[in-house]
């Protein structure tokens, strides 16, 4: 089965609220994690990434949290805007930083209510 998954297929939030998208992974050897945003008809767009020696990393309006104890990854989006509507994927690298690609979860569709 999938080694990287998401708890909710769809998440609906009010514009201006904060969004939290969750992801669970099963391989404790994974050491690199990344979040992508995918809009309809487009390729995945990089949001933020983190390595296993970090607990938290912040970008512009986004924060990624990594809890290695429970193998949980989350993406927090502050002050959600209509342009944040998209499908969000978490992905991991299972080879300890190797070049053999990413393993993706199924995605969460973030819907912004006006």
């Amino acid at each position: 089965g999938e080694s990287v998954g998401l708890h909710l297929p769809t998440l609906s939030v009010q514009e201006g609220d904060n969004s939290i998208i969750n992801c669970a992974y099963s391989n404790s050897a994974s050491d690199y994690f990344i979040w992508y945003k995918q809009e309809s008809g487009k390729g995945p767009q990089f949001i933020i990434d983190i390595r296993s020696n970090m607990d938290k990393r912040q970008g512009q309006r986004v924060t990624v949290l990594l809890n290695k104890t429970v193998k949980h990854l989350s993406l927090q989006i502050a002050a959600t805007q209509p342009g944040d509507s998209a499908v969000y994927f978490c992905a991991e690298n299972m080879a300890g930083g190797g070049a053999d690609g990413l393993t993706f979860g199924k995605g969460t569709h973030l819907i912004i209510q006006p």
Partner: protein, 115 residues
């Protein structure tokens, strides 16, 4: 910079036909990847390359072939198209190996239907 460019954007093939999906990047990235995305699913790795002349299989390589004669180009070949290969294909590239701040950059995909 154009980033990662994929052609064509759409294609319909008949069963048994062959075609090449083109991918080129202008970022001088060593690492390139091909993924497929089925409806409602995440991406699955088909093949990848760590540099010109070097390619390796990913999770779902059957029915596909790749080559990497230059740093810029990484074409994906379907020799005998099958309905199971109906999917959206994404090419990606990165400069380094999964280093924070050096992520894989994706093209906008090729939507392929096999009828």
């Amino acid at each position: 910079n154009a980033g990662v460019t994929q052609t064509p954007k759409f294609r319909i093939l008949k069963i048994g036909q062959s075609m090449t999906l083109q991918c080129t990047q202008d970022m001088n990235h060593n690492y390139m990847y091909w993924y497929r995305q089925d409806p409602g699913m995440g991406l699955k790795l088909i093949y990848y390359s760590v540099g010109a002349g070097i390619t390796d299989k990913g999770e779902v390589p059957n029915g596909y072939n790749v080559s990497r004669s230059t740093t810029e180009d990484f074409p994906l070949r379907l020799e005998l198209a099958a309905p199971s290969q109906t999917s959206v294909y994404f090419c990606a590239s990165s400069s380094l190996q999964q280093v924070v701040g050096q992520p894989q950059h994706f093209g906008d995909g090729t939507r392929l239907s096999i009828l």
